[in-house]
Subunit: 186 residues, 2 copies
């Protein structure tokens, strides 16, 4: 019998089906994301989400995400910048992890906010010192949650989410980035 | 005398001023970004960019970035998902690095596209196997560029950008993520 109850806006029956499907056939849990970004001039870009491959399904995507830099960082301030998009990706992933895992545990979340901050040294980006990391050495992320559940249940949920969040791990672990160049002489 | 020429949409005089300012006083190159994300129910979130601290300036931000999951991943498909935002952040950062460093070198870029892809195993996120990385082991990123510059100049530029891109390094290096929980019993 299928459980179709909705908790935290998550269909717990559908979640259970995903878990069972991937447990039965791990290839159904292989998911590939892609983004094609076009340069719009200056620091402006427009990104198109490419079709997602999920197990044996292909899911068309129809989303566009713009980016720019503030005036002070040589941009025209038309959109969030790459650093803000990166932190947004972290926060959103932690939120989904929290809400879905809470639903699976029967925990109702009343309110959830995630705040992240990171500080970097632009001497890295500007090529002024090869010993300086151009990115973040550290990032802080605070999960603010309101729920009727008890503190212990929420702490256990939090620990589980941190361990299993894709983007938390993408921040915390090194990723092998294979970069290639395709040059067309104009 | 200030050079005010624009190349690739980048004000090379302003770029030179940034480089000189940060060289003179490295604290001017310390920049802090922040994002506050509110949960909208289910897998939907809305992120607000917080004021940027850049040296001794505070720059107000007025950008909102939404996120959701596809229907197949328990969402309502209203916006790009956290994985797509992460790759968007990578592509945008590489683009800015390419275009700004090209301008600094006097190289005109005619066209630039960045395509990235990453594949992950949802058994990590679903908590089905603690030995599986919930994030990407690897990501590929291809920079497609058209320019009148010669191949050697573009290859050198590419190598420099990869080395100095904040988000390339954020992917490639581990970040110390300090996660904290603020729980309010409802």
């Amino acid at each position: 019998m299928q459980d179709t109850s909705i908790l935290n806006g998550i269909d717990t029956g559908a979640l259970q089906q995903v878990v069972e499907g991937v447990t039965r056939d791990p290839s159904q849990g292989r998911v590939t994301f892609g983004i094609r970004t076009s340069w719009l001039g200056g620091a402006r870009t427009s990104a198109q989400a490419l079709p997602v491959s999920l197990g044996n399904q292909t899911i068309d995507r129809n989303f566009n995400i713009e980016s720019d830099e503030p005036l002070e960082i040589l941009g025209t301030n038309k959109a969030a910048n790459p650093q803000e998009l990166l932190l947004t990706a972290l926060n959103a992933c932690i939120t989904v992890g929290f809400v879905a895992n809470a639903a699976a545990r029967g925990i109702q979340i009343d309110n959830l906010e995630v705040v992240s901050n990171g500080s970097l040294d632009m001497r890295g980006f500007l090529g002024l010192d090869p010993n300086i990391n151009p990115g973040y050495d550290a990032v802080s992320v605070e999960v603010r949650i309101r729920s009727k559940a008890d503190a212990k249940a929420i702490e256990e949920l939090f620990a589980h989410v941190i361990k299993t969040s894709p983007n938390f791990n993408n921040f915390a672990r090194p990723i092998a980035v294979e970069a290639s160049l395709q040059f067309q002489r104009a």
